[in-house]
Each structure stands twice: as C-alpha cells, then as structure tokens.
C-alpha cells in the first residue's frame, strides 16, 4: 500500500476531529433530554407533594423517554468506539456493509443539517474488502459531504454496493452529479491522495444523479 501523504494525514486528522465533535453533539442532545425528563419528574413529584395527585401515565412516558435516550446514547458510543478503532490497522479485511452503516451513522448529523436522509441498501450477500478502513471511511464521508451540498430533488441518498470480479463498486444515488461544480468538489482536498492510497477511482453512474466509486478487493501493492 502506498505511503499516505502527510498533507492528507492532516486532512484525516481533521476528519477524525469533525466526526468526534459531531458525536459529542449527539451525546449532548441525548443527555439534555435525560436532564429535562429527570427535571420534569422532580417537578411532578414536588407538585404531588404540595397539591397531591400524580399523573402515573406521564411518569411512565418520561421513564420510557429516558430509556430511549439511554439506548440512543449507547448506540452513539458503540459507533464512536468502532470509529475510533478504524485506525488500529493500516489494512484490514472487513464487511463493507457494516462499515458503510457506520459511516452513515457518524454522518447522519451532517446530512440532517441539509434535511437529507441516507439509506444503505444491503447487497444481498456479504461483500468483504481488504483496505484501510479509516481512509475508506474518510473518502466516503467526503463524498457524502459533497452530496449533501448538491442534493437531488428527493433530498434522500441511497448508497448501494456490489462486487464484480475483484472490483467493488459503491454507488451513491440522489445528488446532482451532473452539475458542473460537483465533480470539481468531489476531487478537491485529499480526494486524489485517498484514491491513490485505496487504488480507487470515481466515475459518474450509469443513470442520472449517480456516482460510483470502484475499489479493488485488495489494495495495490498487497
């Protein structure tokens, strides 16, 4: 695998920082809801003390809301942990769907800010890939960021994938790929370095609003 250029390494660090900040925001939202629910339970208890009567259904609903937020925070932390471990190995063999779903989870806030939704379409069979999980996530996140800035009319993005021979294709559907500035932005920043590192290339899809990334099942030089 080629050595990664230092400048792109700095970009990778910035990517790691942006994702970490986004995750911390998500956790803070969950904690804020738990805080308000706990506060309301206290308010209701004080009211019951002074005026009598407690709305049991409301208490149950608040308890359920706290449970939901704890589950949500637990999922966020699981994803954060998995994301942090993507730098453990320079190269690793992994299930692509699992990592695409991880990228979707850690990018959800980025897309929500543009009122976009993202769906990872299962391939119907396991597709494994041997490459750098961290830099693949960085590339996909960069492409999702571009798509969020060039949303299609549906404001929804489908990410699907398939294997043909030794090449894996990841298809992004739902952004304005035909707009003149789109591909310029896609190839901006660290894209070229990432594509070289992963031995990948990017091409317009066969249908409108599509873009495809082609990655070898095993990276060059391995």
């Amino acid at each position: 695998m080629p050595a990664f250029p230092q400048t792109a390494g700095w970009g990778g660090l910035k990517f790691f920082g942006r994702i970490s900040a986004s995750i911390s925001h998500e956790l803070k939202n969950a904690l804020s809801i738990v805080n308000e629910n706990a506060g309301l339970l206290e308010d209701l208890a004080l009211l019951a003390d002074s005026k009598g009567g407690l709305d049991i259904e409301r208490v149950k609903a608040l308890s359920a809301s706290i449970g939901r937020q704890v589950k949500r925070a637990d999922n966020i932390i699981r994803n954060m942990n998995k994301f942090a471990h993507t730098v453990d190995f320079e190269i690793k063999t992994f299930d692509l769907q699992e990592y695409l779903e991880l990228t979707a989870a850690v990018s959800a806030r980025l897309l929500a800010a543009k009122s976009m939704t993202l769906k990872v379409i299962p391939a119907g069979q396991q597709v494994s890939l041997t490459t750098s999980p961290f830099f693949l996530l960085y590339l996909i996140w960069h492409l999702l960021d571009c798509c969020s800035q060039w949303p299609g009319p549906e404001k929804s993005l489908d990410v699907s994938f398939s294997r043909d021979g030794g090449v894996i294709s990841i298809c992004f559907k739902g952004c304005m790929t035909q707009e003149p500035g789109f591909m310029t932005q896609v190839m901006d920043g660290d894209s070229q370095a990432l594509l070289t590192l992963l031995g990948a290339n990017i091409a317009p899809g066969t249908r409108p609003h599509e873009m495809e990334v082609h990655i070898p099942e095993t990276p060059p030089g391995v």
Binding site: A21, S24, H25, K28, N29, L31, S32, I33, N35, E36, N37, G39, L40, D43, L47, L62, S65, R68, Q69, A112, A113, K114, S115
Partner: protein, 124 residues
C-alpha cells in the same frame, strides 16, 4: 396575571415537549415546534414574548430562523440554546443574541425561566 408567552424551537421533540411542560409548571404559556416551518406558522397565528431557538436546525440555522421570525414580529425577543461547545458556535450565537442570552445544553430550567421573565418584563 398575564402569562409570558414562549415559543420553543428544537428538532429534538422529547426535549422541546418536556421543556415546554416544565415552563408551563412555572407559569409560562409555552408552545413548541420541531421545524422552522411549523415555528413560523405558530408565530403567524399568535404573538409571543420570547422565542427560544436551537442554534442548529435541519436545513436552517437558528440564526437564519431568527431573521425570518423577526420579519413576522419585530418585537420578538430571542434566546439561543446549543449543544455545541465550539468557540465558533458561541461567537455566532452570542453575536446574534447577546452573550447573556445564549445557553448551553443541558439547560438549567430556572436560569432559562429567569431570562425569559427578564426579557418579557423589559418589554412591558
């Protein structure tokens, strides 16, 4: 006694519903919205003393929403809430709302109630 009217806007429904209920217990007339569009619709139908806005909403920033709301009601007061800890967000929020009208999540309900009352009393 006239109730102070508050409009809370945040895309986290569980948060905004609970905050509205806690403010109602403290004597406020509190409504809530989870999107910018529904907030603007509520504002067109009712006069509020204070709007409490999340800094980041889907598809629009709280600061942009503030400008749209001020076009409908130029006398409306604003408080911003944020879950972000970044200096950049703090600067943007405090520049728009004033440092003292910018709250970090989780929000202290009594501090929020005091700010709302102070703003409403200043106008009356």
């Amino acid at each position: 006694m006239k109730h102070v009217r508050v409009l809370l806007v945040d895309d986290e429904e569980d948060l905004v519903v609970t905050l509205a209920e806690r403010l109602a217990i403290r004597g406020f007339d509190a409504d809530w919205a989870v999107t910018a569009d529904s907030a603007l619709e509520l504002l067109r139908g009712k006069t509020y003393d204070v709007a409490v806005l999340d800094v980041k909403l889907p598809g629009i920033s709280g600061l942009e929403l503030k400008n749209h709301m001020a076009e409908i009601d130029s006398g409306l007061n604003f408080i911003f809430m944020t879950g972000h800890g970044s200096q950049e967000d703090f600067m943007a929020g405090s520049a728009a709302a004033g440092e003292s009208n910018y709250l970090w999540k989780p929000v202290d309900i009594d501090a929020l109630a005091q700010k709302i009352k102070r703003m409403a009393n200043r106008d009356n």
